[in-house]
Amino acid sequence: MKIGFYPGCSLKGSSREYNESVVAIAKALDIELVEIKDWNCCGATAAHSMNEELSLSLPARILALAEAQGLKEVVVPCAACYNRLMVTQHELKDNNKRERVTDIIKMPYSGDLKIINVLQMLETYAMDKIQEKVTKPFAHKVACYYGCLLIRPHKILQFDRVEDPQSMDAMVKLIGGTPINWAFKTECCGAGLSVSRTDLVAKLSGNILKDATERDAKAIIVACPMCQSNLDMRRGAINETLSNPSDIPVIFITQAIGLALGLSPKELGLERHFVNVKL
């Protein structure tokens, strides 16, 4: 089976292990990923904080490119990109906005591309196959952390439930793991201010890590490169806010599934993390 693929900038840079693990498990599950040609950055927080038309035009160009390439469905593993593409498609249902934006990008745009996140791709196309191919059950107690952009705003994304989501928990159970109940599943880690206000972000991320660690999770599982790099690379600054420093790793759901499918830690980019992954 073939599906369009928008990696986004993080997956090509500081979160390349997310890309490596998405590509590796897609291959293992017989999903062919077709990258959108000449894709650009979605604009992320910076664009929508500064200029609305820019924040709609950058994602619109990506969607228009995918349409021109004949893709019907595109998987977007980065929660931030997924959110921006979904919000843009929703906003461009408004005729005035669509006219303005298509005039800016100078490309035809129909708006009928189906945009899905990595959990939706696995739920729709690979649940049976994953179950069938688990060779090394991921027998760990973990905290599934959804963050914000994967599930909110619910009216537009229509994915999972807005409080206490379950899709990642179900995936972890499927590969033999035990998801814990905890309080910070959907609390914001603050990644948007990671560089500009590291002090605040360390506090927010500290709350998340503290709860997961105190409830004896052996790892935090994520589906967002912002959450991952924030909780992993900023661990030094975060631990300075905690009375008991935490050393639990933060890994992508695709890495957890990859391990269960018997792929090597190297193929899944687990050696790239700042906090050692000893699972």
Binding site: N40, A44, T45, A46, M50, K155, E187
Partner: protein
Amino acid sequence: MENKNKISGDIHSHTGVEVARCYQCGKCTAGCVLASEMNFPPSYLMRLLQTGTEENYDRILRSNTIWLCLNCENCLGRCPMEIDIPKIMDYLREQSLNKKKVNRDANPIVSFHKSFLDSIKYTGRLYEVGLIAAFKARTFRLTQDVKLAPKMYLNGKLNLMPEMIKDKKGIGQIFSKTIDNPKTKNK
């Protein structure tokens, strides 16, 4: 009364949000992770908007509140009236920038956004090394995060060269017709 109509009218026409619908239950503030760091929290901002005075509007545009908002969308998720506060925040930030009223404490945040967008404008994709270098140059925070860089490099997380897209002209045009277009500044 004239101003009252103008401020809430402008917000309504640009965001579709009716500020009068807020009945001050405070759930947005209760769920906001940065409420305690803000000059005033989101429910208070809604109340200030409802008063409709230029004075209160000016206070909002000069506050750190609009820049600390992470757009995590928790307020919207929990609002019994489904008021899209994050969308109002986007609009207010743009107004604050255009009217040159950005809160001084928010300068690093705006510098980060500008550095981010500059990087995309020239290469089409985010070039993280360039972003950090530009951010440091804008804020003079030369030593920040220098401890992270070598490990990022060793772990293969830093590209030393930017990824360029082919259609750089197309991206350039998107910028010149939107954020770099002087005509859009006064809308």
